[in-house]
Structures are given as C-alpha cells and as structure tokens.
C-alpha cells in the first residue's frame, strides 16, 4: 500500500458523500462448520456506522459479537466462513475483496483493538520499532518522521513522557499503558474504522475510565467510526452514540443509546437492563432472566430467546423479521415492549 492509494481512498470517501456510512453490514452470516454440526455464530446481522460515530455492540458470551468484528476484518479461519451477506466499507465489499486488499486495509484504514493488548504488541520489539513499522507498512515516510508521528500518537492517548515509553519493551509497561499503546497504534494511520473488542474488560475501574475518556475524545476529533464490542451495557451507555444488542448470533435491537437504555423494546434488553443491581431496590432480589445462554448447536427454529422470554407465544416459533416500528429503532421481536416505550 502506498501513499497514493491512501489519498485515492480519501478521495473516494469524499466522492461518496460525507453522509454515506463508513461501514454497512447487510445480512451477514458467518457460520462455523464443525464435526458436531454447523454453528450459526453470526446469523443475518445488519448494521451501519457513520464517520465519528461510536456503535456499542453489546452481547453475552456466544452472542457472536466478536465473530462479527472478526468477519469485518476478514479474519475468519476455517472451519468458519462468511456464508452470505455484504460488508461494505466506504462502498467497497469486503466479503469479496482479495486477501491482499484486506491486508492493505487492516492496520491502515481499518484497525482493531483487542482485549489483550499483547495480541497487537510483539513482546520482543521495542514500542518505537513496532509503531514505526506499522506506519511504514502502509505509507512512505522516513524513520525520523515516523518516529515523531508515533510520539504524537502516544501523547494523544494520554501517555505521560512518551519519549521514554517509545524506548520501552511491552513487558516494561503496565496493563493500562499497554492498552493505550495498542490504541495509539490503532489510531496511527488515522483509520476510518476501529473495531474495539472489549479493550477495557481486563483493566481496573479508574484506568478503564481514563481509556473510555480518551477513546471517545479521539473518535470525535479524528472522525473515526468505531465499533465497541462489550458485554457490559454500562460501559457502552456512557460511551456509545448508538447501541446494538446481540443475542445468539442475531442483533435483537438497535437504537440511540438513550432510547435503548431507558426504553428498551426487546424482552431480552428489558430483562438484561432490569437485572442490573442499580435498577433494583437495595438488598432485594434482582429481576433475573431465567435459564441459560443458549447452545448455538441445535438451536430450535424461531426466536432464540423464546425459551427465556416471559412474552413468548406460539408466534415465536417463527423467526421474527427486523422491523422499524419506531423511527431509528430496529428490533427483531414479535412482542416488543411498545407500550412502555410510548410513555
């Protein structure tokens, strides 16, 4: 990838118009074909992210939220495969893109932040070496300029004395520092899209707060679109512009953060939000969702949540379609909580 390509892409982005979403995912299906049977890890998922927007992709383990992220990056290995659907990044379909093209985009136009920063960092190389390589892999820039750029990136994510950190090895940094360096690397080439997979889950509360703060500010400043994957609704409540709630491979509800948190429509979102302690009276039993997170193998047809849902009926044996009953709010449910939302 050369600097010329980068400029071309920027131009392309402008030609498509500022309002066109950075990423559009349409009817994405990623399945894993195992000995025991096909696992529909991602099953008909559609969403979009605008430039400068943070989308919170929330779900429990097994909901397919991480696989969705990996599908966008083209990082699904056999026995997994994107079965159907389209992933349009600034108008270009990534599902049909060549591996070379995807490699050119990854770390350049699309960056990823992992839960474990050591997925990004090489333990035997100094921070500056890694950051300079990350820059030079995608654009022509001499070492000195690249190092200055790395310095600026570290400063941008709130790392004190960046000069010292550049000369350090990853193991000499604390967990919070490492994650900041990983975030700085993600922002190095000013990507159009960042996919962050639970980047603060392993961190302490005060450090998490710092990183959420930095990430939010950076997205607004650089106009980068961000998908923040998490299991913790409280984290995305304070961070995201919009939230998509996933359950058993499907997005069950999408909407503005305030709408989804304050007036959830899908019984799963309602149950999840109702079960958090702060929504309950101190010392009293919590409103729990009964049952277990479902096994994706041999999932019965219809709505995956029906076995745990208080509103389930015969109708739920057929898979509900995505509907937009209220403008800007998409849900996949036969019996949404419309009456509460209307209030």
């Amino acid at each position: 990838m050369t600097a010329v390509d980068g400029t071309m892409e920027k131009l392309e982005g402008q030609l498509n118009g500022e309002d066109a979403p950075t990423l559009v995912v349409e009817n994405l299906k990623t399945h894993f074909f195992t000995r025991i049977g096909a696992v529909k890890a991602v099953d008909d998922v559609s969403f979009s992210v605008q430039a400068g927007e943070i989308l919170g992709l929330a779900g429990e383990s097994g909901s397919g939220k991480s696989i969705t992220g990996f599908s966008i990056l083209g990082l699904i290995d056999p026995p997994g495969r994107v079965v159907s659907g389209a992933i349009r990044f600034k108008g270009e379909d990534l599902v049909t893109a060549s591996p070379e093209r995807l490699r050119g985009l990854r770390g350049n136009r699309i960056a990823m932040i992992f839960q474990d920063p050591m997925m990004t960092l090489n333990p035997v190389l100094r921070v500056d070496t890694q950051m300079i390589e990350a820059i030079q892999a995608h654009r022509k820039m001499d070492r000195k300029a690249a190092r200055q750029r790395a310095y600026d990136a570290l400063e941008m994510v709130g790392i004190p004395s960046p000069g010292e950190r550049l000369n350090a090895y990853p193991h000499q940094l604390s967990g919070g520092m490492r994650q900041r360096v990983a975030i700085a690397i993600a922002f190095l080439n000013e990507p159009d899209l960042i996919i962050a997979d639970e980047p603060t889950t392993a961190l302490d509360v005060t450090i998490q707060a710092q990183i959420l703060h930095e990430a939010q500010a950076l997205c607004k400043r650089t106009g980068t679109a961000m998908i923040w994957i998490t299991h913790d609704l409280a984290v995305v409540a304070g961070l995201a512009d919009r939230i998509a709630v996933m359950y058993a491979g499907r997005i069950v509800e999408t909407g503005e953060t305030d709408d989804v948190i304050d007036r959830p429509l899908h019984p799963y979102s309602v149950g999840l939000l109702g079960s958090v302690p702060s929504a309950n009276k101190r010392g009293e039993r919590l409103n729990q969702i009964p049952g277990m997170t479902p096994n994706l193998i041999g999932l019965p047809p219809g709505c995956a949540f029906k076995a745990r849902c208080p509103r389930a009926s015969e109708l739920c044996n057929t898979t509900p379609d995505v509907s937009e009953l209220i403008p800007g709010r998409k849900i996949r449910c036969h019996h949404p909580h419309l009456e509460e939302a209307a209030q």
Partner: protein
C-alpha cells in the same frame, strides 16, 4: 506432525477469545476423551503407526502360539538348519521366511521372542521410572522451597549426563541380568518424568480448585494424589511413550555392546549382535531383520507419541 490435520475449533489466527466464545456456546459437547480419540485418528500416519504398534505388541504377546518354533527350546532347534537364507525349508518342514541364525533358530520366531523381552524391559523400566519420577516431581512442586531446590538440582545433574552413559556405567558396575538392566534404565530415565510432572504440577497447584481443596481441610496427600496428579497425566503419557521407545533402543544398544542382556535372554539387541559376525560373509539377514523389527517398533512408538503430544498439548492447538 502436521497441525493442519487437526481441524480444531479455532477462530481468527487461533484467537483464544473466539475459541472461548464458541466453547461457551456449548460447541464442545463431546467428552474430552471422545474428542481426544477423534483428533488422534485425524492423522493417517499416526493411525498407521498405532495399528503397526498394536500388531507388534500382539505378535509379541502371542509369540508362543504363532511362531513355528520355540527358539529357546533346544529340542526344537536343529543345528543343521544354521545360517539358512530367507525362504529356506527347515528340517522340521516349515518355511523359514526370514532365514535362520548361526544356531539354527528360525529368525521369525527369534525376533518375536526377542520383541517380548525388549518390550517387557522397556515397559517395566518405564513404569517404575514413572512411579518414582512422578512422586518425586509432585513432591517438589507441592512442597516447594528447599525440598524442591534439592530435588531439582539432582534432576538437573542427572539430565546433564547422556542416558546411555549413565546406563552403561551402571551395568558395568552391576553386571548382566534382566533385573540389573531394568534398574539401569530406571536410573537413566526417572529424571525426565520428575521434570515433566513438576512442570505441570506447578501449573495445577496454582489453580483455584487446589485452594478450594485446602480450604475444605483435605490432607496434603489427598490434594497431591487425588486432585493435582490426575491433571498432570496428559504430559506424562506423552513423555512416557517416547521414553519407552528410548528405553527399548537403549537396552538394544547395551545388549549389542554385550553389557546388557545375557545370551539366555536374547532381546533384539542380542540378536543383532549375534548376527553381526556374519555380516561380512554376506549372511545379512541374521542382523538386518532383527534390526528392522527394532526400527519399526521404535518408529511406530515415536509416531504415536508425537501425535499424542500434538493432541494433548494445548499450546500446540491452533
């Protein structure tokens, strides 16, 4: 072994997060043992090696029933049959497919009887070495501190000598005999097991189920043997398999050198040594066929061991 042969459930670049996510969804519903078996059999080479090994062991065990001759029953051996080439007719009217040795013994029969001894020596010494190494390694990991330092320094010392040298010195001191060679092999091998068990026991010891057992007031012996040990068996099986092959080879070496088993208990090594003097006179079969039998045995054990290691080692899984 080829890792692409094992199509485990993995995600992007073997990402453990995705694997965990898939595991959480209940993907892994088969028992670990069933998964182990099916993963093991995914490699054709390993499956072939396992079948070969099974055939060898079976043939060795059943030797008295399938050989035309008991090569150590002097009544059945005829000196007139000596040094016959492969395919010759014996005096007792059966075909010696692999020929005969200097004393007139049918080589096919001699090899199967030799395998019995080689395998018995290898497996017995292996089991004793496992028992000793396992206990010592477990103790080192569990007790820690000075005890661990002391035990592990001895292990290091032992491992710094070549196993063949240690065994050679011991049999030179102790003399010939099946019990002495087993003792020598045990001394040469226990340290490998001690180191293996200590390594995995250290990992297990720090897990929460061990803390739970301690807070339930269970005794140290119970925690060591009932809780920690069963979780250390996988690497022990791998090392045990490969070490058994080493032991068999080592015993053959010692016997070939004439310091191992006596002529009255002829293992494969003794057979090879016996035929060696005839090599230059063109009677290759007396040495070569026992040698091939030894080779096939050791290679098939090693191939099985390699596949076991690939399947049982979580770090190699991708």
């Amino acid at each position: 072994m080829s890792s692409e042969a094992t199509s485990n459930i993995t995600g992007a670049d073997g990402d453990p997060q995705i694997a965990a996510e898939l595991a959480e969804t209940g993907l892994i519903v088969e028992t670990p043992f069933k998964r182990f078996v099916s993963e093991f059999l995914e490699s054709r080479v390993a499956m072939g090696a396992l079948l070969t090994l099974a055939a060898i062991v079976l043939a060795a065990i059943l030797a008295p029933f399938i050989t035309p001759q008991n090569p150590y029953d002097l009544g059945q051996v005829d000196i007139m049959d000596g040094r016959l080439p492969p395919g010759s007719e014996a005096f007792a009217e059966y075909t010696m497919w692999l020929g005969s040795d200097g004393a007139g013994r049918d080589l096919f029969s001699a090899i199967l009887y030799g395998l019995r001894i080689s395998l018995a020596v290898g497996v017995t010494s292996g089991l004793i070495a496992i028992a000793i190494g396992m206990s010592v390694g477990l103790l080192a990991a569990y007790v820690g501190g000075r005890v661990e330092a002391f035990i592990m320094r001895i292990v290091d010392l032992q491992l710094s000598f070549p196993a063949a040298l240690v065994a050679l010195m011991l049999v030179a001191l102790l003399g010939k005999g099946i019990d002495k060679i087993i003792l020598a092999l045990v001394v040469a091998q226990w340290a490998y097991y001690a180191r293996t068990v200590r390594g995995s026991a250290l990992v297990e010891r720090s897990k929460e189920y061990v803390e739970a057992a301690a807070s339930l007031g269970l005794s140290h012996a119970r925690i060591m043997f009932r809780h920690i040990l069963p979780n250390c068996l996988a690497p022990l099986i791998v090392v045990g398999t490969i070490q058994t092959a080493h032991a068999i080879a080592l015993e053959a070496t010692l016997s070939f050198l004439g310091v191992g088993l006596p002529q009255t208990e002829p293992s494969l090594g003794v057979l090879i040594a016996n035929g060696f003097e005839y090599m230059l006179s063109g009677k290759y079969w007396i040495s070569v066929f026992p040698g091939v039998a030894l080779l096939i045995t050791i290679v098939s054990i090693n191939l099985v061991g390699d596949q076991l290691r690939d399947v049982l080692n979580p770090r190699l899984k991708r």
